[in-house]
Symmetry: C2
Subunit: 154 residues, 2 copies
DNA sequence: CATCGAGATTTTCGTACGTCATCAGGTACA
DNA sequence: TGTACCTGATGACGTACGAAAATCTCGATG
């Protein structure tokens, strides 16, 4: 019964330290290094873990402004618009959504001028029928990845 | 010249592989292992790199629904509301924003029922004056971290 | 005033040592 | 049969430390 639980624990341990060694993970989870190695490979192959990244504080490197941009798009132009947004490197998330707007995108900019320039340029697309931009005043939490549930048994 | 450039290159290399060894990074950037180690420590101390995490595909572990929740909040209750949201483990991002709404939060849920339950419970808070939920139909890109600019000189 | 250079500081580097990841072969248990 | 474990062997890895190189500081000099 540990089999699937171990995977969840392994993911959670890595969420705590994504550069932890297999040995330290093995010790933490009280299994052998081999087992950690095997399960980790499986998780990567299954696509549960898609890769590893540092958490970069963009504020600390000069990207002081975050904005949430909502767009109403002409129906059949949706793929074009989302493609364009994704290719903007500063767009961190692009969602197609239900509701008043069709697309919600989140982007990071060096300052409000840079933000305005980029957004104005985006809105020249005639397929965009309406837009609404919210500037982030305070990121209470951002891109947090929560831990997976571990069913505990004795 | 290279000093700050090396830091940017180092961050970019880690964005490519967050578990890359110091040796492979050193080879890629054509500096010694020690230099990589020193600069990496500095970046961590300065807070540019806040830690390392695996990229978890929540879809693959049963969290099939992502929602963007927008709230209008009674002015002085804003901190309480954002605190509550942040403590909901499934809320990955919580922003205080300008515009029609005061708070934009992004959350992940196992299914629409679970989402509805949690959102309904949230909205019992009398400080929340209005709300608007958009369900994500398609995550074109999510929590992408873009590379830092490297000024090239000869 | 521009230049120089000795000394101090910072940055980078190579080496060395203990640890680590990986693989293979074999055991135990359900 | 499948999962987890141990052992041993090998090459890769992280870190500490002193040497070397590059950079900066600043007063003296022509």
């Amino acid at each position: 019964m540990t089999y699937e639980n171990l995977d969840a624990k392994l993911v959670n341990a890595l969420l705590g330290d994504g550069r932890a060694s297999l040995r330290s993970l093995a010790e933490e989870l009280d299994v052998s290094v081999t087992t950690v190695s095997n399960h980790l490979s499986d998780l990567e192959e299954q696509g549960v873990i898609e890769g590893y990244t540092p958490r970069v504080d963009y504020d600390a490197v000069g990207y002081d402004v975050t904005a949430v941009i909502q767009l109403q798009v002409e129906g059949n132009a949706l793929p074009d618009v989302t493609d364009t947004l994704r290719d903007h490197r500063q767009m961190t998330s692009v969602y197609e959504v239900t509701g008043d707007y069709d697309v919600i995108a989140i982007g990071k900019f060096e300052d409000t001028d840079g933000m305005n320039d980029q957004i104005k340029q985006l809105l020249t697309d005639p397929d965009i029928k309406a837009s609404n931009t919210s500037v982030v005043l305070n990121a209470v939490s951002e891109n947090e990845q929560f831990e997976l549930e571990v069913e505990d048994e004795e």
